[in-house]
Structure formats: C-alpha cells, structure tokens
Amino acid sequence: MIASIRSVLQKIGHRVIDSVWRMGFAGRFFLLTLMHSGTCFRRFHLILREVFSAGVLSLIIILVSGLFVGMVLGLQGFETLQTYGSEEALGILVAKSLVMELGPVVAALLFASRAGSAITAEIGLMKATEQIAAMEMMAVDPIARVVAPRFWGAVISMPLLAALFSAMGIFGGYLVGVVLIGVDNGSFWSQMQAAVSFDRDILNGVIKSVVFGVAVTTIALFEGFDAPPTAEGVSRATTRTVVTSSLAILGLDFILTAFMFRGV
C-alpha cells in the first residue's frame, strides 16, 4: 500500500521536475534566440524567406476560415439579436467578437497547426539529417542562422494574419447580415464604429496576436530543436507543438483578456 503510494508520488514528482526542467530549457532557448537575432536583422532577406513560408503560405487557410467564421457569426448573431429586436447591433457583435477574441485566437490556432508544425518538422528533420551539426561544424551558429530568422518571420506574420482574419470575418458578417439578410447597411457600419474603439479593442487584439505569435513560434522552434533525431521523434515533436501551443494560446488569451479588462 505504502509502496504504491510512494511510486505514484514518485511518478508525479518525476513529471513535475521533468516539465520544469524543460520549461527552463525552453526559456534559455528563447533568450538565446533573442540574443542571436542581430545577424538576421542585418541580413533581412533571411527573415523575408520565413515571412513567406510562415505568412504567405498560411494566407489561404486564414482568409477562408476568417470568411466562414464571420458568416456564421452573422447568421447566428442575427438569429439571437432578432429576438430582442436589435438586428442593427449585428455589426457590433461581429466586429467586437472578431477583433478582440476570435481573430487573434482562431488565427493563432490555425497558425500553430499550419506554420508551427511545419517549423517543428523542418528543424527536426534538419537535425535528423545532420544539417544542424554540419552548420555547427562550418562555424555557423544554428540559433542565429536557422532559429532566429524563423522566429522573427513568424512573429511578424502573426499580427498581420490575425488582422486579415478579422477583416475577412467582418466582410463575411457583412455579406450574410447586410447583403443576404438585409440588415440596414448604414446602421451596420455606424453602430460598429461607435462601439469599437481603436486603442481598447483593436490595439488589444493586435497585442494579443503578437503575444500568441511569440508563444507559438517559441514552442515550435524549441520542440523542433529538442526533438530526438529519428522519424518517430520528429513526428511526436510535431504533435506536441500543436497540442502545447493550442493550450498556450487559450491560457494566455484568458490571462491577457483579464488584464485588458482590468486596465479599462
């Protein structure tokens, strides 16, 4: 009896120590990345390449999802608002929920599964095929040459993708609400403009998406760099990237929202 309790406690202890150790390692990795960012800013085309693979290649999924999320919001919002006779507030509902919450969060979740997993797999494979080791032997620091450009490319892309998602979503809400159902065009936009403020809603949304971008990219890069150099290791690291960064996004979203509402 005592022995089994002991072994359960040992297992818990082991997992806690292990995860704290990994978090410390990831934190050190993050700081190293920031410290070695000088090179890639001097050679900006390195970052541009990563903006392409993280940002441009995620455009289609972001735009299409944004459009559909906005259209669903328009449809559902209209149904609900109709019962209170305030269909004109549809613009507020669509815009506020997109700009503050859905835009940054859903865009970041999509980004984690589209670009984050790609980053992990790419770096994991570079490690498995000894490309990282070869780079080190050529006296080139892989953190500066491989990790830092990917970090900044993704961090630059994330707020742009979130803004595109929100804009596309508002357009989707407009399509369903105004064009299809026939809510008044003027009050749709004017009520929206009256209720959404730039520094409270839009700026906070942008701040959120930057924070999510940093979190997702750091997790993806770390998992890739930390992956065992085998096929199984890389595939597990890719899965972990998606799971961990999704949880991180939702957790951080709660913390940030709580702070932003308190600040008002």
Partner: protein, 248 residues
C-alpha cells in the same frame, strides 16, 4: 567512456584512415577533433592549439579552417547545390557576388558537378550529394577535412570517384584528411597511414602496405572480412546447450 587510450598523429598532406568495426568510437573521435565534444582527459592539438580548452569564439574560428563531410552529405535541403557550396562564403566573407560565383563554380568543377549547380539536393543521387558536400567542405580551403564514412552506401563507380577525389584534393590543396571508414579495400588504395581502433584503443597502425601484409589476428580478420576471429560472430551468451535445455 567510448575512447580509452588513443594516440594518433596526422600530418599535412596526408590522408589517414581510422578503421574499426561499428560502434568502436570512430565518430566520437571526429566529434572530439571538431570540438563538438570535449575530452575528459588528454589533449587534442590541431595546428598547435588545444581544442579542448578553446572558448566558443575561438572554437568557431578554428572550425573555419576545418571541413567535415557527413555520412550522407548533410546538404541543406532548402537550398540549391550552388547555394550549398556558397553557404560558408556568404556566412564568413564579404566577397562580392561575382567572386563568390567564380569560387563556387571552381569548387564544383573540382568535384565534376559544375553542370549541376542549379539542382536541388533532392534531385541528386547519393554519390553526387556526397561530392557536392565535399565541394562545400572545401569552400574555404581548410587545412583539415574529416570524413565520416564517405564510402557508405555508394555504388562501385561513385566509390572509386569519391576515393580518388579525396586523394586528389588532399594533394592539390595541401591539407590533411582524416577518413573514418570501415571500407578496407577502397581506403587502402588512397590512404597514407591507417589506424585500427577497437573497443576504444588503437589495436594496430601502419602504412597501407604494412596493413595489407599484417598478420595480427584482428587486422587480418578485418581486412579479409572473416566471420569469426578476435571479433566473435556470437554475442556473448551462456552455452547453447544450456539455453536449449539439453544439458542435464
């Protein structure tokens, strides 16, 4: 502890081979020379500098004068052949683009792949990838090149081509080559000196001719590829009869 007592010397202009069966610590030795590992005891001198005592910057300076050919080439898969060879020139020098182009084409010409400079690594055969990697590792004209199993998985033609390239480039550039391999026949054709490593110690050493003529049981078994000898065919186990339950 993989290596226990290894003492070897490589001179400028020489190709030396380190041979031994799989898992005897050959790759560890290369990682020690490259500074990726630090020796727990003993010293490792490259060009009069103790590698084990260098800090990060000094080690990176030293590595610019070394090249390494990885087992399967380790080419950067997201760059063309041209960019792969130009990589170190771009990272470590401020040469103008026309000069980089000339240098890259010269290195590629040396390995006979000037015409392939626009291909991606995925379009190359194993032998070609190995040659591109060789061109990449001589981009900065190093004084020392290490080869980790350069002959593994090559067809006989590529094998001969790679072997001759190692010899020719070593002579032409006046550098030192350290080849880690277990391909006895191919390497004996090109090397000046051979070290046999087994279980972390140097079992035998000598020139290619000496090794061929050697009658040490380990070397003999290795060179002629015999099944049983000092390196047993069977993994240590209790007696066969006991395992099958035959002995009373």
């Amino acid at each position: 502890m993989v290596l226990k007592g290894v003492n070897l010397t490589a001179r400028r202009g020489q190709v030396i081979a380190i041979m031994g069966n799989s898992g005897c610590g050959k790759t560890t030795l290369l990682r020690l020379i490259g500074g990726a590992l630090k020796p727990t005891t003993g010293t490792l001198m490259v060009d009069g500098v103790n590698i084990g005592e260098l800090d990060q910057d000094a080690l990176y300076d030293m590595r610019r004068r070394m090249g390494m050919l990885f087992q399967f080439g380790a080419l950067f898969t997201d760059m063309t052949v041209y960019e792969n060879v130009a990589f170190q020139l771009r990272e470590h020098t401020d040469l103008p683009e026309p000069m980089i182009r000339d240098l890259v084409l010269m290195k590629l010409h040396a390995v006979g792949l000037r015409g392939a400079h626009n291909l991606m690594p995925s379009e190359l055969s194993g032998g070609m990838a190995r040659r591109v990697a060789l061109a990449r590792s001589i981009a900065l004209d190093p004084m020392l090149i290490m080869y980790d199993e350069p002959f593994a998985g090559l067809d006989p033609i590529s094998l001969g081509v790679t072997g001759n390239l190692i010899r020719r480039l070593t002579d032409a550039l006046g550098m030192t080559s350290i080849v880690v391999t277990h391909d006895v026949q191919e390497s004996l054709k090109i090397v000046d000196y051979v070290y046999f490593v087994s279980e972390g110690v140097i079992e035998a050493h000598g020139t290619a001719a000496e090794i061929k003529a050697s009658d040490l049981p380990f070397v003999h078994q290795f060179v002629h590829g015999e099944e049983d000898g000092p390196v047993p065919f069977h993994y240590p186990a209790q007696s066969y009869g006991t395992d099958l339950g035959l002995s009373a």
